[in-house]
Amino acid sequence: MGMTIAEKIIARAAGLPEVHANDIHTVELDFLMSNDGTTHLTIDMYNALKHPRIADVRKLVWIVDHNVPCDSPKTAASQKKMRDFAKENGITFYEGAGVCHQIMIENHVVPGQLIFGADSHTCAYGALGAFGTGVGCTDYLYGMVTGKSWVLVPETLRFNLTGALSNGATARDLILTIIGQIGANGANYHAMEFAGPGMASLTMSDRIAICNLCVEAGAKTALMEVDDITMNYLAAHGGRRPEACFASDPDAKFEKVYDINLSTIVPVVAKPHFVDNIAPVSECTGVRINEAFLGSCNNGRLEDLRLGTSIIKGKKVAPTVRFLVVPASREVYLEAMKEGILDTFMEAGAIVMNPNCSVCWGSCQGVIGKGETLISTGTRNFKGRAGHRDSFVYLGSAATVTASAIKGEISAAFT
């Protein structure tokens, strides 16, 4: 029987010729990424072991990105613990360089790998044809100590894409629309695989945005085939070579197949307090906002910033709005500086911040108060996610967020 991409990657990691959905296998992990959200907890558990050891330190990548720069003595202490441990043990360590998933994609991930990240949006690595999945710190510790873990082979939902995005819609509008269609648990325990002729029109940045958000439909991972766009990205980022390039076999078993014509996608927002609470932007125009956020591992790349400046150039942020612009990594920040993108945002009155998770995770920067409303390119709009429990978060594309920041209310970028 044929295999899906997810099955092929797990078979490789398990050292088996063939695996199939719903089998449980022990797998060798290629990377284990962890950030300052939970690493201090992993270290505490590690230190409590009778005979602590790291199976292969080359597999570990630790990234401080959630509270950068540090906002309190408590987080300073937990980051120091992480920094000291990384240094003592020779663990690859980043601090202040950007959001963990963007750093992993720019520097480490290659096609065919199986990667655990102690962060739910690890599924973003599917944009490079790698199986990334989020775990908690206990699973992380087990992988750190043994180099291995167990996985339940997921069934696959296949999304066949045709056509090209138009109508001012972006890849973010596409994935939000899909989440709205299948629901916040529509892909629970599943892999979401994207394929078809429409893929050729999607940039690497688009692909990362799509895969990154799949966990908001409950997915275990997201996967895409490797093509010229993938290979060009790897060549431009250190000339990394794939471990293996997989495509699903023609007779692979998909639990469900969705056909989506990209040209039918329109700009949408996710309304409070659920990512699957989707409506066209046109139905939400006029909702007053207090803050706008352009950034995150989902939508803080150069292409998103360029899209924002194409809308805001020569205009001003509404006086009632704080507009936070947060490039996803140092690489993105440097490029944005060279292109004059940061000048454009600052001249318009935006607040340009250092690369980090920022208000997307509701701590450190830009949290909102009681009764306030945020429109965000971040990953979630759960109740209280961005600050006070009685506040409101709408999710939209870089274009929608920027247009709304100018108008002071939710607004379509292109009409």
Partner: protein, 163 residues
Amino acid sequence: MEQFTGKVWLLGDDIDTDIIMPTEYLALKTINDMCPYAFSPLRPELAAQIREGDIIVAGKNFGCGSSREQAPEVIKALGIRCVIAASYARIFFRNAINNGLLLIENADLVKDVQEGEEITVRAGDSIRYKDKTYPISPLPQNLLDILEAGGLVRAMQRLNGKV
């Protein structure tokens, strides 16, 4: 077969990890320090009302969102005996089992049960509420082994005495 009875706290669909343990309290030093703030965005009074041995019953997609392990840890620390939900988000599911928190999947109980009522759970077999019985499927053996050891770290130590 293990059997226990507990009082029900009833929650809805899509109870996310930011509701179970909001970001702003994650910097607190211990899980016990976080306990009073569990579920606070949704029901600020709930954590103080939960007693040892109580049971949470919820709808679909319980634990969706972040990979933060403080979510199942805080539920366990509050004394919750088990969670019974129509379905679970997968990272939360793994984290709960890894921390020795029993999860049961049942989609019918949440439709019938009232908050404050008592239910009886026969592990791996069924739930009893009033005069109705709700069958449940046992977890796969590898997960039962982890639960039985008291979580993944202990299971790992048992597998390999050197760790």
